[in-house]
Amino acid sequence: MELLERFAAGDLEAFEVLFRQHQKELYAWIVRIVRDSGIAEDLTVEAFWRIYRARARFEPAGNFRAWARRIATNVAFDHLRRAPRETELPEDLPGAAGRDPAVSSETRRLIRQAFCELPAKYRLVATLALIEEEPYNIIAEAVGISTALVKIRVFRAVRMLRKKLNSLGLEVAAK
């Protein structure tokens, strides 16, 4: 019996193999959304827990990677919804890219504040599309919405962010 068939049938050893094959990738995906390595580890375990519970619904001929990523995205999204909006984003994570020293730390703080105040569904797609520069089709597949809806949410997130930044005293030109 193939690995995915064994997993779908509830074989714990098959699940362990899949866990070890995919844990790094799912963790890397989740940490890009929640931006906290400790929380991302817990959410990775939570995502695999949901994957294991949903094993009977998995079609062994299907794409385990895409299915697992979608569940992980839901777990991370649930976290964004539950976490208080005023939660400060960490300054930087290991592996974070460099930044322009010309932008003051106060400006960065205001931008992070405005970003944290976005509703979770906009923050999710804005993080993946604008910060992590993931292709829209990948985001659409992970979130479970159409590519067109991803574009609409990114557009609205940018509009909301611009308004919030202007209200915080940061001049960002309107269209």
Binding site: L12, E16, F19, R20, Q23, K24, Y27, A28, V31, R32, R35, S37, A40, E41, T44, V45, E46, F48, W49, Y52, L89, D92, L93, P94, G95, A96, A97, G98, R99, D100, V103, T107, R108, R109, L110, I111, R112, F115, A126, T127, L130, I131, E132, E133, F155, V158, L161, R162, L165, V172, A173, A174, K175
Partner: protein, 74 residues
């Protein structure tokens, strides 16, 4: 400023404030944590939830006229 330019400006500002995570490496194997999670008992439903469900069921059974009202408010 066009929509696209505005979009780019916001994106640049955002990426300055919230840096992309390019190489986040998992620092440890999470399988032991996963096993502990699998060993946990499933969450039990508190007794008062069962009591509420029983009361609601009884009300609907003895006063079926409340069903449309309940559906209206759902």
């Amino acid at each position: 400023m066009s929509n696209e330019e505005n979009h780019k400006e916001i994106k640049q500002l955002l990426r300055q404030a919230v840096s992309p995570v390019k190489n986040a490496e998992l620092q440890r194997d999470l399988w032991p944590q996963m096993l502990r999670r699998l060993d946990q008992q499933p969450l039990s439903v508190p007794w008062f939830d069962w009591a509420l469900a029983a009361i609601l069921g009884a009300v609907l059974f003895f006063f079926p006229g409340t069903i449309p009202a309940l559906l209206y408010h759902l």
